[in-house]
Amino acid sequence: MDLVEVRHVATSIARFGDRYLGRVFTAHEIASCVGPPSAVAAGLAARFAAKEATIKVLRPTAHQPDWQSMEVRRNPDGWCSMVLSGHAVTLADEAGIDEMAVSLTHEESIAGAVVVAMCQGSSRAVQRSGAQLGSVKERNTLMDEEIRQILAEHARILEDVSTIGDDDDLFQLGMTSHASVNVMLALEDSFDFEFPERMLRKSTFESIAAIRSALTELTNA
């Protein structure tokens, strides 16, 4: 899920015109947004939010896909889907994503989009931001997968993260204070919240169980 302030898009259109439009949006997206300038800006802002949400799902680790490689395709019936091309397709394949559904909305000042990725061989819908998942067990399983993936990317632990026990001390396994801050930032990016000041302490990040406990508390809040 992602939100965009409409005025930012309107300002960019006013300042850079076609240079901006041509760099960020496809011809289909531009043609889909018609009406007065404020309506055009709102429609494009919603599409920009959809592209941002898609990047969150695809999680590029090196080069970010071009904005135009993530196209919001409007169906004649009015509903929208996300059509990928180029590097975005590669990232989706790597993540095992078959299809992406998108929902757009906008008001006068703000536009938003929710992107849902449908994964291979499963009817499971993984909604990686603002997750509303079926059972507590399923949620915890997905949360653990997420935590372990983030630890693998950011904790700089030499040990295979998949073998780390829930209560193993991550700092004793080699995670430094600096690395734990990167873990914190990645968790915030992934789960779309900020750890409050009271949680900025070593004990919050000392084990997978501790991280899961903090995340559960924050997502339930």
């Binding site: 960019s12 680790t61 430094t176």
Partner: protein, 596 residues
């Protein structure tokens, strides 16, 4: 000694340390130009703040040198109240002063007559650059945003989290935020929180290079703002190894630096232009503060000894016969000292009439590197020669009338120097003395010789290398080792340790050198374990003073411990360098407050 304001060359270019900007509030910087003064553009380097600035300093120096080799004039500088510039980090109006510093630096580099102007900013330095130039109509040709913080708030939050996780530090009641090596007042926190890259009202510059980490998504609003067509995005690696490690472990990201140099070259003009002679620009000495009595505290950039080491002499009023105080590097930290403590103490002590020199050893800070080196080398075998050369250069008539002050490796080098020359006193803070000191075995002081001491002890470096490898292992074993009884350490000291630290300290005192040791509990234990008799004998000697500070953070990045150490050092220096009459007339707590 010579004035470092005079040009001295390094590699393919000329470089000059200088103060510039307002006379009453000078900024310090290093100006680099190609040797033939033919430039294709000018580049201003705006550094990160706090501990990230410490970690990035050698990368910035390398970037400056690479850009100079590629035909650019480069200015790297210290913001107001940071580094060697005037002012203090706790002065009011910090954010406005930092933004103004960027504009003053831009104005200064323009006086060279460069045909094109670019600005590079890293982390919150990039955020400040965007804020400064984004709210101005004056044109900047190109901007490089190097792993930028989306906002000042994001920067503070990351640093705050790091400090909380590392030390368990809690929030301050007065709204200020302490981060490693810095403290930001409530006003600064509020002002910095309003600095956002997405705030910029214009396109910032004709060309923007955004270097973002491959493993971070980046802030949505910043990404949105930087989706403009003239922004080139490159995903980089190496930031984790540069700013997400202890400063001593920071690695220069050569690949990223070459990306920047290459991009700026493609943006630069084809025709070079001869720019102004840097000899005619800036000032090699400056008044950086005034005493409550209105006396000027002056600093002078110097080139010291045969290797041309960089140093800054701080003084106030007439020359005195009192000992000169020398402040040594702490690990890879430059002459500004841990969290800029050396700068503050230099100015405080100078106000009391003491001459103070802070300087960089070979391969550290801003001193020349040895051939083939581009990063810091700590515990270098020839560091002792550097220290003695600097003492001779500053006071050729009476070189050993000196007090040496050092933290960690600096404490080691101070002890080392005191074992070969009878200086007046040394202050060693958390010194690491588990390394074999070759001079311990010498009888008396070695005779003066043209031959460097390092060359006369070929095994010295090898022994240190062994110690360097042994120390990390020792750290890993620490929980076990710390539980060993004192008697076990007595045995270890005699079998495995050529010179137990306590006996090294005793030799310093026996050589009639006054010695102040300041240590945290763990460091104090390591200095004294297994040597209770030696320690008892030391404590009975009036030349010896040892202060143990509970929970002292080793590198002095924590404010409370740093202030305690500063007070202890000040007492020692004042007692040795300031006459009783002057001591009575000065109130140092008030003096420090007014030095801003």
């Amino acid at each position: 000694v010579s004035d470092a304001g005079e040009k001295y060359g390094r590699g393919d270019g000329s470089v000059k340390p200088l103060w510039f900007g307002p006379e009453q509030r000078p900024l310090f910087g290093w100006l680099h130009t190609p040797a033939d003064r033919r430039c294709r553009g000018g580049v201003l380097l705006a550094s990160p703040l706090g501990i990230e600035g410490v970690s990035a300093r050698y990368a910035y120096r390398h970037l400056a040198e690479r850009l100079t080799e590629s035909g650019f004039a480069v200015l790297r500088f210290d913001y107001d109240g940071t580094g060697d510039s005037a002012g203090r980090v706790d002065d009011p109006g910090r954010v406005a002063a930092w933004l103004e510093s960027i504009w003053v630096a831009i104005g200064f580099i323009r006086t060279l007559g460069v045909p094109r102007l670019s600005v590079v900013g890293m982390r919150v330095g990039a955020t400040l650059v965007a804020e400064a130039i984004g709210s101005s109509a004056a044109p900047i040709d190109d901007v490089v945003l190097w792993d930028p913080c989306a906002s000042g708030r994001a920067f503070l939050r990351e640093q705050r989290a790091l400090w909380s996780i590392a030390l368990g530090a809690r929030a301050n009641d007065d709204g200020s935020i302490e981060t490693p090596g810095s403290i930001y007042a409530k006003e600064t926190v509020a002002d910095l929180s309003n600095v956002l890259i997405a705030n910029a009202e214009g396109p910032l510059a004709d060309g923007i290079l955004l270097l973002s980490r491959s493993n971070r998504k980046g802030d949505r609003r910043m990404n949105e703002y930087l989706s403009m067509p003239h922004v080139e995005r490159v995903s980089i690696t190496g930031q984790d190894e540069l700013v997400d490690v202890e400063p001593g472990a920071a690695k220069i990201p050569y690949e990223t630096i070459e990306i920047m140099v290459g991009w700026l070259k493609t943006r630069a003009v084809a025709e070079t232009k001869v720019v102004a002679d840097i000899e005619q620009l800036g000032r090699s000495r400056a008044v950086v503060a005034t005493t409550p009595d209105g006396l000027a505290i002056e600093e002078r950039a110097m080139s010291l000894g045969p290797r041309g080491l960089f140093g800054i002499l701080t003084s106030c009023g007439d020359e005195t016969q009192s000992p000169t105080v020398f402040l040594l590097n702490a690990g890879p930290t430059d002459h500004a000292g841990p969290a800029r403590l050396w700068v503050q103490l230099s100015r405080l002590w100078a106000a009391a009439g003491v001459r103070v020199v802070r300087f960089d050893l070979t391969g550290l800070g801003d001193s020349p590197f040895r051939a083939g080196e581009s990063g810091p080398i700590i515990y270098a075998p020839d560091a002792l020669d550097d220290v003695l050369d600097v003492l001779r250069a500053v006071s050729p008539e009476d070189p050993w009338n000196a007090i040496l002050v050092g933290l960690c490796s600096g404490g080691y080098h101070a002890v080392e120097a005191a074992l070969v020359r009878q200086v007046r006193g040394i202050c060693a803070i958390n010194p690491i003395l588990t390394i074999k000191l070759a001079e311990i075995d010498t009888e008396g002081f070695p005779e003066e010789s043209a031959e460097p001491l390092g060359a006369r002890r070929p095994s010295f470096g090898a022994r240190r290398g062994l110690a360097r490898h042994a120390l990390p292992a020792h750290e890993i074993l620490s929980p076990l080792v710390q539980r060993l009884p004192s008697a076990a350490w007595w045995v270890i000291n005699r079998i495995a340790t050529p010179s137990p630290p306590a006996r090294t300290l005793a030799r310093v005192v026996d050589a009639e050198v006054d010695l102040l040791v300041v240590a945290g509990e763990e460091e104090a234990h390591r200095l004294s374990r297994g040597e209770s008799r030696t320690m008892r004998r030391l404590r009975q000697n009036k030349r010896f003073q040892m202060e143990v500070i509970p929970e002292l953070e080793h590198s002095l990045f924590e404010r409370h411990g740093r202030e305690q150490v500063g007070e202890m050092l000040t007492r020692f220096v004042v007692n040795h360098c300031v006459s009783a009459a002057t001591r009575q007339s000065q109130r140092f707590d008030e003096l420090e407050v007014t030095l801003s």
